[in-house]
Symmetry: C2
Subunit: 395 residues, 2 copies
């Protein structure tokens, strides 16, 4: 009997085992109980017992196999265990500059319902009102218990209390957004998260960066958001503000003035306005029109975008030297820009990066598309249930 | 009986408790057994038993109190437990551009002996030969068992095998330095570590950054080394190369060409050569002469050093935006430069940093002085003993 088995009866270890089991199912979807037994390295009877507890909590359901594929050689075939999307849900919201979206997401990451509405103005109370109105409507139709509401915001957020310190594109400064949401949904468990951190988390858990421990996610729009995963954990910093890569100075005094007050920040050189200028469009061109212009670009794309590509590459060189990531994911507008100038970007990145970390980095596009941020916001709420399923899911 | 007590008898938990106990003594020095009981939250008899095992391993000794100060109210006074520097030692080395130093360091961090010799040339075999010659001499005089040799090098190192990928100031590229050391000390446990990472680790464990989980250590010399601690753990990256902050581009194309091949790297703007140029000295002035010149600087110091101060501050702004550290430690030559231009540096840092993380950062000078790197190299060898004392220290 292994040490792990010896300990399996103690409350702490049982909680950990339950959490690990649920995490496998939540992230990897339905699988046979025999597969879970292999993954956890516990005995079949222990796993059957743990699965039974999760089933009683409404978190999973067991389906008896209807064919022989799962037959392990003797006895009955191993049942399939699947996360129960209808049993437990979370609400996930995303505030953008001109719209708000909220989704009802079941355990396992299934989106059950979603609703998107235009934001009439950018006042914090307007955004909070719209998010909670949709959330309340979705919660009323939820088939199971709703664990809480996670909302992603394009700004510098403080994990502890959901304050938004600075969201330049919304014009917010020191907004107690978490409290505005809570006051409109009394008793709900509310999380506010930076949009790029949410996107990074989702791509790490469910997208292109699965299984990669050191990932930097760079999301381009008017500003450059970024989320950093180090050794499998989000980079947080002393107050939850770490990872503001958009405000790295990459150009110095020859650069543009940034809304943050500095000059030559990365986001002024590769953000939406820089891309628009490069194509001869107005700096305030709507995002959709800019994306269309990028899709329609002809063979002179690399020439038009050469300066953006150079600055994108030199900022990535910094990222490589600083974090030695295994993967950099280029999202948002960069997902459109990068394929047009990938060789120029890579040339500039390799010119500026040290050889050793540069050899180890891959550049990739996100897999989850526009849903990454919403999925990540959902995961911030699931986190609690995935640490202590019995505590979080007990009626 | 707490869950922890229930588990205290299992081998895994006992190993963890032994390790935690030894770590308190190694880092915080002698203390009464009653204090250890408080810190670990275990019963007196469990702690007495664990201390007994460490004593049998030669790791600690117990001194019966000779006064009543430690009397806990009833029964005998609690004995003082202290790490036994004479029982177990490690060898710690530092390779610099022009010299090599090796120390014999006892458990608890006491330097028992040390020796420093000039490096006749910069060939990797010369450095390996000199380090291992001194190390072998010191080991022969060691009063206890020697656990291994940790050597800090001013270059990009790979943790796994001690390879030095790039050490520009030594002129090394892809040097199998770990193997060169091992071949000269057969059977010894050898660790090679980046010098700034070692310094950061030492200041975090024993110096100015004690108790601070998010710390960036910036060490200025010809190059700029840096070590980053995130949530109490060293930033490593996918291959052990993370944290090369000296090669952040902070100036853009108006900057100096760097030995790494890029232009406008932080280290070309604030390193030894930039400081020398600012004072009107030759770029290759010896370090000691440069430090003397800085000490002798008059009221025009801020004017002479204004550009260095500005670039130091704007690089620090990047560091603040990227890591949101609670503390930045300025070591090496920056320890001399910063106090002369602290207001200019801070002005430039606050101009470039976002307000939220900037409010949370403190700038500090190292406490351990020139010994930080050597102490950190020692800690890389102690690490093994501090994870599993019984396994590492059993005869």
């Amino acid at each position: 009997m292994s040490v792990r088995e010896t300990l399996a009866g103690s409350p702490d270890v049982r909680r950990t085992n339950l959490a690990v089991l649920l995490r496998h199912l939540h992230l990897d979807g339905p699988m046979r109980r025999a597969e879970l037994t292999d993954r956890l390295g516990l005995t079949r009877s222990t796993v059957a017992d743990l699965v039974g507890e999760l089933a009683r909590l409404g978190a999973v359901e067991q389906l008896v196999a209807d064919n022989r594929a799962g037959h392990t050689g003797r006895g009955r075939p191993s049942p399939v265990v699947r996360p129960c999307a209808l049993g437990t849900q979370v609400l996930a919201g995303e505030v953008q500059v001109d719209q708000v979206e909220v989704a009802l997401v079941g355990l396992g990451g299934t989106v059950l319902r979603r609703d998107r509405r235009p934001l009439p103005d950018r006042a914090p109370t307007t955004a909070a009102e719209l998010v909670t109105t949709i959330a309340t409507e979705l919660a009323a139709k939820a088939p199971g218990r709703v664990l809480g509401l996670g909302v992603a915001v394009p700004g510098v957020t403080r994990d502890a209390d959901g304050n938004v310190r600075f969201a330049p594109n919304l014009g917010w400064r020191d907004v107690t957004f978490g409290r505005l949401l809570e006051s409109r949904m009394p008793g709900a468990h509310v999380q506010v998260v930076n949009d790029a951190d949410a996107g990074a988390l989702a791509e790490h858990l469910r997208g292109v960066a699965r299984g990669c421990g050191d990932v930097v996610f760079v999301e381009g729009d008017v500003g450059i958001g970024s989320g950093v995963i180090i050794g499998g954990q989000p980079l947080v910093g002393a107050g939850g503000y770490a990872g503001e890569l958009g405000h790295m100075v990459v150009v110095g005094r020859e650069g543009q003035r940034c809304r943050c007050g500095s000059v030559g920040c990365w986001e002024t050189e590769i953000g939406r306005q820089a891309v628009a200028r490069a194509l001869g469009l107005r700096a305030d061109v709507p995002r959709n029109s800019l994306v269309e212009a990028l899709h329609a670009i002809g063979p002179d794309g690399p020439r038009l975008l050469s300066q953006v590509a150079r600055h994108l590459g030199s900022g990535l060189a910094n990222v490589v030297n600083i974090f030695n990531p295994g993967l950099i994911v280029l999202g948002g507008l960069l997902r459109e820009v990068y394929p047009l100038v990938s060789s120029e970007v890579r040339h500039s990145m390799f010119a500026g990066a040290l050889a050793a970390p540069a050899e180890q980095v891959r550049l990739a596009l996100p897999e989850l598309g526009d849903d990454a941020v919403l999925f990540g916001a959902a995961e911030t709420v699931w986190r609690r249930a995935l640490i202590d399923p019995a505590g979080a899911l007990a009626a």
